[in-house]
Amino acid sequence: MFTNANTLVLEWGFVDRNGGRAQMTMHLPFSTTLATLNTFVSTMAPLLTTLSNATIERLTYRYRYADNAPGAPAIGSNSNLLLSLYYRNESRYEQINLPAPDTSYLETEGAYQGIRLDTSLVSVQSALSELTTALEAVVTPEAEAFPTEFLAGGVFK
């Protein structure tokens, strides 16, 4: 079960005249809302730059959760192996990479044996269908809708 950390982490990214970068870290109560955090940052930023000649160029908020008692990974699981799932929409292609895929879902014969996700398996079709629906909430780094037409899946390492 995932539990949250004691604090949320606020990282201030500074850049100096020569392009050198440095970071300052603060901790706030985990329960701090995003709105409160933004207000805090607005108040704090000018105070920091009064004392610093560097410029603040980046802020990072980290709400961290962790499973303190995770189940044992499956035998044979290998985080160096990743499963790429490729999607497209009318304007672009994207991929997501899942670590340590269950290799029993890969094709077992032919040129792509052990490489390509076997989409003829009902279990794979079902999982992909649900995953695709869930991906509708995801966006690209450009904040555009993540493509949801599944194309193919295959492992890389």
């Binding site: 020569n18 392009g19 050198g20 790429s84 490729y86 497209r88 672009r92 292609y93 994207e94 991929q95 990479n97 040129a111 792509y112 490489i115 390509r116 989409t119 079709q125 992909l128 269908s129 690209t140 780094p141 450009e142 037409e149 599944f150 194309l151 193919a152 899946g153 295959g154 492992v155 890389f156 390492k157």
Partner: protein, 186 residues
């Protein structure tokens, strides 16, 4: 000072040309890894270049897994089913949309080795077969389900000639012409 150890690339943009090429499927995992590495923000000159390149590299990665020839295979399957139905009369139904999760599925399946079954009436092969049997019947008197007369055209004309001669109902010129025709037919 920011130090770049790689040249930041400007992404080639669409429209793209496509080529059919050979590659080694067994190396797909390494090819996909290389493509994914290159799709990281670090390698690209601007956020716009990164967005273009990330999409193009993901597209390329998908192609390595989706036999890019799938459209060609689907087209060949359509031609096969068309010919099989028109030539032989084997009708099939097809379901699916041709996507990875919903591929075209033919019922009955396309066989690896074509079977030459008795052609169904209305097909090209049926009419060719019908015509061949007709010619064989005319020339050699071969019988079939279409033609039951076992005398060839020569024998039939000879029989007509004999009948007409016996009955005496034919004038001399027409009789001479019939004799010539029968002689020409061997």
């Amino acid at each position: 000072m920011r130090i770049n150890i790689v040249n930041k690339e400007i992404a080639p943009g669409p429209p793209f040309d496509y080529e059919l090429v050979d590659y080694i499927p067994a190396y797909t995992p390494f090819i996909l890894y290389a493509l994914w590495l290159k799709s990281q923000r670090y390698f690209w000159a601007t956020p716009e270049d990164w967005a273009i390149a990330r999409s193009a590299l993901a597209e390329q990665g998908a192609y390595f897994l989706m036999p890019g020839t799938i459209d060609i295979v689907n087209a060949v399957d359509r031609v096969y089913t068309l010919l099989d139905e028109r030539l032989i009369g084997n009708e099939r139904s097809v379901t699916g949309t041709g996507t990875a999760l919903d591929p075209f599925v033919y019922d009955p399946p396309l066989e690896q080795a074509a079977q030459f079954l008795d052609p169904t009436e209305g097909t090209v092969t049926f009419y060719l077969d019908h015509q061949l049997r007709g010619l064989q019947n005319i020339s050699d008197g071969q019988t079939s389900i279409f033609f039951s007369e076992d005398r060839n055209i020569h024998d039939q004309l000879a029989a007509i000639l004999e009948a007409l001669t016996t009955e005496g109902g034919l004038d001399a010129d027409m009789l001479a012409q019939l004799v010539q025709i029968v002689a020409l037919l061997g």
